[in-house]
Symmetry: C2
Subunit: 122 residues, 2 copies
């Protein structure tokens, strides 16, 4: 099934895509940046840098950290973090729904061998 | 202004994004693969490979070439090519329109310095 993959271009502030949003959701679920990074096989440093990148472009941080050592403290998605995640997921849902007819049409135009799912032999 | 950038994931057939679509539109406008590639600073080989990639996943080719030598013959966007381009552009328009309110909300949540356009000094 044809599906949309989308990013939001925020001009000089950069881009917001499904990777950063999923990381923010993992912070909410795991309560720590290192644990959230591990969900995606990402180093603490890489996860921290991605979160720092989004923290600095919005009016307030999307993630706050508590003291307790570099890896020991927890991390929380802020109210603005929740709002940004919700808007991004709403953009995805609205876009997918609005484009559904055209996505079906593209799927139908594919070569049958490319469009069908591979079935295991019986 | 926050804007969407989207790709269509076609499963095993790959992905269709704004780069390939713009190249197809350039083929329509320029009537040749090499001239279309030059619009994007792309080698003939690179442009040809991208077009070959989309040609092979759809039920019929999106671009056909005429004889006249490797670089000498013309290239035409087929009816299916026109249809695929039109669906992609319609997906973009429908998605942007459906998501407009959420895109505005993300833009508003940006840090003012990140959101404003840099103005040249008077």
């Amino acid at each position: 099934m044809a599906q949309l993959s989308l990013r939001v271009d925020l001009g000089e502030a950069g881009r917001l895509g499904p990777g950063k949003i999923a990381l923010l959701e993992a912070v909410r679920e795991k309560g720590s940046i290192s644990a959230a990074g591990r969900v995606f096989g990402m180093s603490y440093r890489r996860a921290w840098m991605l979160i720092e990148a989004v923290n600095t472009i919005f009016a307030e941080p999307l993630v706050t950290t508590q003291t307790g050592g570099r890896h020991g403290g927890g991390a929380t998605l802020t109210a603005l973090g929740e709002t940004v995640v919700a808007h991004f997921r709403a953009i995805e849902a609205a876009a997918e729904s609005a484009a559904a007819g055209h996505l079906d049409a593209l799927q139908t135009a594919l070569k049958p061998s490319a469009a069908e799912n591979v079935q295991p032999p019986v």
